[in-house]
């Protein structure tokens, strides 16, 4: 099977205007992925499915990843010549940079016909708040239908072009997206009074004292 770079070059040749770049995977598995721009995503996907020597006809896994804003502190070392002619001092310059967060959707593609894979595609949304739409690949692979609905349900990524975009696991009236890193769970869900741990704190904050008194504080339970 061709490496991610070869595929990228062939795709750039096929779709001149598209933004395609290789995201290297530092881990041992070395499954590098292709980051696609939103514009040509579906066309590229169809090409990958129908291309003669790729034939990626099975979309095995579709999942979302949440990359929240990250504060990156870059320490740049620069040597400053000492005006008084002494030895050059090394000055560490710490620049704080906010890397904008985004929601990412990962597709693992395999070929049943030619028995090779995975080719990993990555689609990223503009940001985590208003621009969170990504072109849906369900028209290309029917397997993405339920999995994209799950990513919409748990991450809030809106797939435009999806035949039936509804919540799949949470109940329809549910407001939030639970799998996001900054998700705060409601603290009044069914109270299970395990006498220690965070649940008890939340329960005490939420329910008036009598109900907690019903549970005699175990000897030496954490206050």
């Amino acid at each position: 099977m061709e490496s991610a770079e070869q595929i990228r070059d062939r795709l750039l040749a096929q779709f001149p205007g598209a933004e395609i770049s290789v995201v290297t995977n530092p881990g041992v598995a070395a499954q590098h992925s292709l980051l696609l721009g939103a514009a040509h995503a579906r066309a590229i996907a169809e090409f990958l499915r129908d291309d003669a020597n790729l034939k990626l006809d099975q979309c095995s896994n579709v999942t979302g990843i949440d990359w929240p804003e990250k504060e990156i502190i870059e320490t740049t070392k620069s040597t400053v010549p000492d005006p008084a002619g002494g030895p050059a001092k090394v000055v560490e310059l710490k620049t704080k940079r906010i890397q904008p967060g985004c929601l990412e959707v990962v597709y693992h593609l395999y070929s049943i016909a030619l028995r090779h894979g995975p080719v990993v595609l990555r689609l990223r949304t503009g940001n985590r708040t208003d621009q969170s739409t990504v072109p849906s690949l369900t028209p290309v692979w029917r397997a993405c239908e339920f999995q994209e609905r799950e990513v919409f349900d748990l991450y809030g990524v809106v797939f435009e072009g999806h035949p039936d975009l509804r919540r799949i696991l949470m109940w329809d009236a549910f407001k939030d997206h639970p799998m996001r890193r900054d998700y705060v769970e409601p603290d009044d869900y069914e109270w299970e009074p395990t006498p220690h741990g965070a649940v008890l704190e939340k329960a005490k904050a939420h329910y008036p004292a009598p109900s907690v008194a019903a549970v005699p504080a175990a000897e030496g339970a954490k206050p």
């Binding site: 881990g27 041992v28 692979w141």
Partner: protein, 390 residues
Amino acid sequence: MSVSDLSSLGSPGGSHVRAVHDEFHGDLLEVSMGPHHPSTHGVFRMIVTLDGETIVKLKPVFGYLHRNHEKLGENTSYLGSMPYTDRLDYLSSMTNNWAYALAVEKLAGQPVPERAEYVRVILAELTRLLNHTCLAGFLMQDCGCSGTPLMYAFREREKILDLFESLSGSRMMCNYQRFGGCRVDPSADWLDGAKKLTDGYGAFLDEFETLLTGNEIIMARTQGVGRLSPALAISAGVTGPMLRATGVNYDLRKVDGYGVYPRFDFRVPLGDHGDVYDRYMIRVLEMRESIKILSQALAGIPAGPIMDPKAKLRGFRPKAGEAYGRIEGPKGEIGFFLISDGSPNPYRYRIRPPSFINLTILEDMCLGQTVADAVIILGSVDIVLGEVDR
């Protein structure tokens, strides 16, 4: 006229005659099957719109057993998630463990000793026997046999579960595999017990098939029902016995050749029609192949360490990176996608659930069939809600 108005016809006293709109059989009857229904294999719900007996629309609804397993995975260490994988597809805990261990080993580049690979193949094939036997039992129960095939299936399943219990300590929640090998080294008489079970399993399958496979009523009920075309199956990401029933030759044990599967010779049965009967028969034939693999593996298991000596149990911090590992579970391709950022907890922990994705085309298979067929088609898809809802 919708049914509720129809009965106004006969309401006692009948003094007030409620408005009765259009015709009796012109109206569609919307029936909700589930989440508490005798034949939905767990808390799964189908909103079925019926015109008489035939299904016009079928909307699956699930999420009743959703525990947000993946968020748990992100807040627990790599080792801590291992017992949770038993709770995914609670009928095949050993293959779930293996899939997770395989993915982590791929992520961290952790070697696995020879004996552990053999033990993993033995346990995976035992789980395949267990799962397919259960499926055959549940499917026949949906067809209406009053419990007889189900009890025979469970009688054999108990023998396999006793093997798991004497090895890992628990029947269904084994928590047995570790990154770089297995937790407990199977003793010699455990291996003899497994050999005795494998030798006796062929006889059970013969008895099971004489009871069911030639049975005219079963053939009439399941042949030609819930037909699935190979092209739709591939596009819909269907994997496992359901895909092979449509004739597509795709078995990860042959394609990926993970573990030590290339050393065993076994065949992959393929169906032609992709209907419920084919799915049942493919699973029965796969059981016979599993018996062959088991006897070869049990004969050829080498001595040696069960766990890679350098494998770390606690404080396991794989280098930053990501990996997608997958194996051929009894229900299909079960995969784990892990992203690690060097900390003891995975940054992203994703499960590729075969029964969830195999349900994508449930409606396509059920349109035009009757209510009784929808129950059997759902049964033949072989879903376990722990894995569907995660």
